[in-house]
């Protein structure tokens, strides 16, 4: 475990230089570029307001892995995750106050994304909605819901679609996953399989990831299909109380997170293809973020602790692969 040790060392070196306040933001994989820009913006804002200077360090990896690292002692002042349950894990370990969800607006999630389909240019298979993905002779790439937040959201969105359509959700997800030729461990692996390896007719991923592909290297090769309904993935943030109090960084950490809801923070979220919380901004960008029927995990499943039961051993996801009893 050399890696976390190196992260510990970073803020340490910064303090030795008698530098200004230092914050460590522990985040998930695909926010790297967003936070690089946001940190620069926030540093400027902080300097202008407080004139004390601030430095922000970052750590990125899979969301759940990061949550475990914080529980195991990674000294994060703030955590910015892609799933409620990852912050709850840290709260359950006593590092974050129980009421973290209500300390910031919008259930403490400054930006969101939804699950969409990425298909090949021209949509050769004519995929329009969830039901098309479950048709025979269609191949769909979904990351493993057991190891990836991305996969969990996709699975839950499919489940919701079937439920709303009045069909048996278990049967629907079974038909859907019959069309899944491989289960990559994480969201980025799935993107690689679809884009680089050319496997599958559709990739299920976050809108933010899909927009990044169609607006950068995949321009002209892929297009996004927004289904009639999807799940609203809220990306929650929180101050890690125990660590911030020990470092004496509570004020800076709180301000760092609050600024995500500012005009500038929300603009940057849009720039990196996250759906902003600002209704005005969202309305101004309907070309990027089309309107559709959305539900959060809380609304549709009664919270993550309930939703996660689908992925427990012997849950509905395991049932898909259970061979028929003789």
């Amino acid at each position: 475990m050399k890696f976390p040790a190196a992260i510990f060392a970073l803020p340490l070196i910064a303090t030795l230089h008698a530098a200004p306040t230092t914050l460590l933001n522990v985040s998930y994989d695909v926010t790297r570029e967003f936070y690089q820009e946001y940190n620069a913006a926030f540093t400027k804002h902080w300097d202008a307001e407080k004139k004390t200077g601030i430095q922000i360090d970052q750590s990125h990896a899979g969301s759940s892995k990061q949550a475990r690292a914080v529980v195991d002692g990674l000294a994060a002042d703030v955590v910015t995750m892609n799933q409620d349950s990852d912050i709850q894990l840290i709260a359950d370990a006593g590092l974050i106050a129980k009421d973290w969800r209500s300390r910031l607006p919008d259930h403490a999630a400054p930006y969101t994304s939804i699950i969409v389909f990425l298909v090949h240019q021209g949509n050769p298979k004519g995929i329009r909605d969830w039901s098309d993905l479950a048709k025979p002779d269609t191949q769909v790439i979904i990351p493993n819901p057991k190891t990836s937040g991305n996969g969990r959201y996709s699975y839950l969105a499919a489940w919701l679609y079937a439920k709303a359509a009045g069909s048996d959700p278990q049967q629907f997800v079974t038909a859907l996953f019959k069309n899944v030729p491989l289960l990559p461990a994480g969201g980025r692996d799935a993107t690689t399989a679809f884009v680089q390896r050319g496997i599958g007719d559709a990739l299920l991923t976050f809108e933010s990831e899909a927009l990044q592909i169609t607006n950068t290297f995949g321009a002209g090769q892929y297009e996004i299909v927004t289904p009639t309904s999807s799940i609203l993935a809220e990306a929650p943030v929180s101050v890690v109380d125990k660590v911030a109090d020990k470092h004496g960084t509570r004020e800076a950490a709180t301000e760092y997170l609050k600024y995500l809801w500012s005009g500038e923070g929300q603009q940057l979220a849009v720039k990196h293809f996250f759906r902003p919380r600002s209704q005005a901004l969202l309305a101004a960008n309907t070309a990027l973020f089309p309107k559709l029927k959305l539900a959060t995990v809380d609304e549709a499943f009664g919270g993550w602790s309930e939703a996660r039961k689908h992925f427990k051993d012997g849950g509905t996801f395991d049932a898909i692969y259970q061979p028929a009893k003789p």
């Binding site: 475990r68 894990l89 057991k146 030729p181 491989l182 461990a185 399989a193 390896r197 012997g314």
Partner: protein, 304 residues
Amino acid sequence: MGKRFILPGFGLTLGYTLVYLTLIVLVPLSALFLKTESGGWQHFWNTITSPQVVASYKVSFGISLIAALINGVFGVIAAWVLVRYRFPGRRLLDAIVDLPFALPTAVAGIALTTLYAPNDWIGHLFAYNQPLGSFISPQTPFGAWLATQGWAKDFLGREGLRIAFSQLGIFIALTFIGMPFVVRTVQPVIQDLHLDVEEAAACLGATRLQAFTRVILPGLLPAIFTGVTLAYGRAVGEYGSVIFIAGNLPFKTQITPVLIVSKLEDYDYSGAAGLGFVMLLASFVILLLSNGFQAWDNRRRGVA
């Protein structure tokens, strides 16, 4: 005992060895054991015997065995060539053998996937509309027959033979990482095998086949066995390269280490530790077997 050693310091060195082994090996392993126990034995038993987990043992242990056996044949040939013959580029070839040791396994996995994925260099050669893949195309009688076979379903993709993301891919990755173990264990033994032994066999009227099966092979067998067990042990625990090339589908291409990671994602630490414990036990048994065989063989041949 009572035997005098030329160099003193038995007590000191044994002390160091024990401390070193304890710190590096025993402490982490006991932690694993304690973590396993923390979930209760019922949970442990349910975890390690659930159908999906049992299926992953079959994939992990089964494919590793095939890969190790293949290495047992071709690794020995490679070692033989490297020792017995002189040809240009021999040293280079010798160095290349170690590459799977040195390469980060993730790099190996990505490289192999890049080769064998359906639209990549080697993978696309096995598409049904390519000469190599046309043999198994459903349009040919053989391909049509193959398509009706249950065991082959996993390998036959929409457009061609599936190498990456099927069990074939796992097999290739495990063969790749296991190869140096066999070559490097067998090589020194072949080096010690003097040519005059073969000549003597020939003089005494042995045919080439007899010379090989009666004279050379018995001498090599323990080394081959050790090499194969080492390659097997390594393959069973391999994660880095397999994760990229396996499709990770439950009951088909999911190896046990992947299940450990998925247990961790589910915050099921004791379940993950339980699976780790099973893998540990398996490795230990494999190594014990290997050591035991060597000791037995040494006694049999009156070495030691």
